[in-house]
């Protein structure tokens, strides 16, 4: 059986003023339906590049991405992206931000009433029903990110792509959002590819953690299966020996085998 999402021998080169820069080399990854996969690595290792290639925002120089037997050639709502800095339209309310996406994706497929219900349902999933008509600059960073997730979920994506979704949030807000995400994941069973540089987040949320080696010419270093039973609770896991072992494995990979050399700023590709 072929994989649901197949990242097949992907290499990526960027043209820079000082010649070609090889960001990724030969990245291979097969993701099953409903699987939650985290990409973790030092900044500049090409995690975002992988995500952008899956999203279709970048075109791989070599290799390609196949989703349900079809090659990915352009961005589309079936691969919805949650960006790091929420990227909500600041002139639209939370409701209208989701509405814009829903109207575009379900044009002619849902009636007006169905769309309204669907928008409200998705905002409820992320616990934002109380602030439907607030503008982004009237709500907190965590709430903005919740709306961003609702917008992505409302596109009913086959794969949900998340680019360091909680990276810009404080620790407490982040853990709230992680809990919300696990809850949603339990109900919807989406296929998720998430970029993170937070080890705890990766272990807590993922079925598999893909640890990436450092760039240039970054690739998949190691893949760790996280066999912790679900539902997972962060407090119970804190004393769980398995959890701590996974955590240690990831830390060891990041800090011993791929300690970050001093890469000149100019060659960094986020």
């Amino acid at each position: 059986m072929s994989a649901h999402l197949n990242i097949d021998h992907v290499s990526m080169e960027f043209d820079t003023p000082s010649g070609k820069f090889c960001a990724l080399e030969n990245v291979n990854l097969k993701i099953k339906k409903g699987e939650f996969v985290s990409l973790i690595g030092h900044s500049g290792c090409g995690k975002s590049t992988v995500l952008n290639i899956i999203a279709g925002l970048y075109q791989a120089t070599k290799g390609g991405v196949v989703l349900d037997g079809k090659e990915v050639s352009e961005p589309g709502p079936e691969r919805a992206v949650v960006f790091q800095n929420h990227s909500l339209f600041p002139w639209l309310s939370a409701y209208e931000n989701v509405e814009l996406a829903v109207k575009q994706v379900f044009k002619g497929k849902k009636s007006k009433a169905e769309m309204k219900e669907w928008i409200e349902y998705n905002l409820e999933l992320v616990h934002m029903s109380h602030a439907l008509h607030k503008k982004p600059d009237e709500i907190s960073g965590g709430m903005k990110q919740r709306v961003g997730i609702a917008r992505a979920l409302a596109m009913e994506p086959t794969v949900l792509l998340m680019d360091e979704p909680f990276g810009a949030l404080d620790a407490l807000t982040r853990s709230h959002l992680q809990d919300s995400l696990m809850e949603i994941q339990r109900d919807l069973k989406n296929t998720v590819v998430m970029i993170t540089h937070d080890v705890d987040e990766a272990v807590l949320l993922s079925d598999r953690i893909v640890m990436m080696s450092n760039g240039p010419a970054a690739g998949v270093g190691e893949i760790l299966d996280v066999a912790l039973p679900r539902p997972r609770h962060r407090l119970e896991l804190a004393d769980d020996p398995m959890y701590n072992k996974y955590r240690a494995d990831v830390l060891r990979f990041l800090h011993e085998r791929h300690a970050k050399p001093d890469v000149p700023a100019s060659s960094k590709v986020a």
Binding site: P77, R79, S87, P90, L100, A101, Q104, V105
Partner: protein, 336 residues
Amino acid sequence: MNVVSKMEDLRMFAPWVRIIKGENRREQVNVLLRTLGVPILAFALFLGIWDSAAKSVVTSLGQVPGPSQVLEQAKGLWQEYQAESVKEDKFYERQEKRNAKKLAANPDAKVKWREYRGRTTYPQQILTSLYTVFTGFLLATLIAVPLGILTGLSQTLNNAMNPIIQIFKPVSPLAWLPIVTMVVSAVYVSDDPMFDKSFVTSAITVMLCCMWPTLINTAVGVSSISPDLLNVAKVLRLSWWSKIIKVVLPSAIPMIFTGMRLSLGVGWMVLIAAEMLAQNPGLGKFVWDEFQNGSSNSLGRIMVAVLTIGFIGFLLDWMMLQLQKYFSWDKSAVNR
């Protein structure tokens, strides 16, 4: 958000309310002195300096007018307007009676309805100027906003447009005017013209001079859209047109309004010069005619025009600021 901005508008009344309430009187009186007393004092000082300086300069048209002479001329202009209105009313009354009589004698008689052609009065000249500047400004906006959006979207077009904008932006209306006049005379030929040539020439000159701030600001606003928002548009597979309408235009709105506000200011300044040369019957022509007239009242009347121009310019700017506040989602972009 709206409530907050309304509260801000009411801020100037706050000290009065607090004094009436008996809240910390001393401090509130100080606030009033600072916000109201100082500007009034400065204005009085300005009038005093003007008055004494004016007395010491004598021109071939007599003394340079001080504040009191200018006020007199303003009253004179107002009286002229009223006298002219009375004449106009009487003219139409006579015409009405005459024609009614004719029709009573013979229902098939041909009656002529003529328009009153009296002297152009000062308020009419103000209206002509406003009409002309808004026509030029509207034309400029209609060209500058779409062009600015295209320029902002494409780096290539931006590179192509940049030298053109930089060269034409500083050109004075006086330099454009002869060319515009000749082109209008050559192109705008009609037996029954809808607009006067002088009006068309002035409006086009205003347009040529005031489109640049809108164009530049629109282009900057569009090119500085967050790439993430454009990525969202890509993920949603928005068509080119809906991307412009739903993403590009709204995110550039604050900058577009900043540009339009600057443009209207430039347009109003340029208009007076354009009207002088094009003989469009607005404030510019008024100033020019008074200058040519050379009566002992002329300098006083010109000074009335100067103050009118300044005050209307101030009102136009205030009006644009309110529009900008109303339409901008980014309240921090609305600067004073």
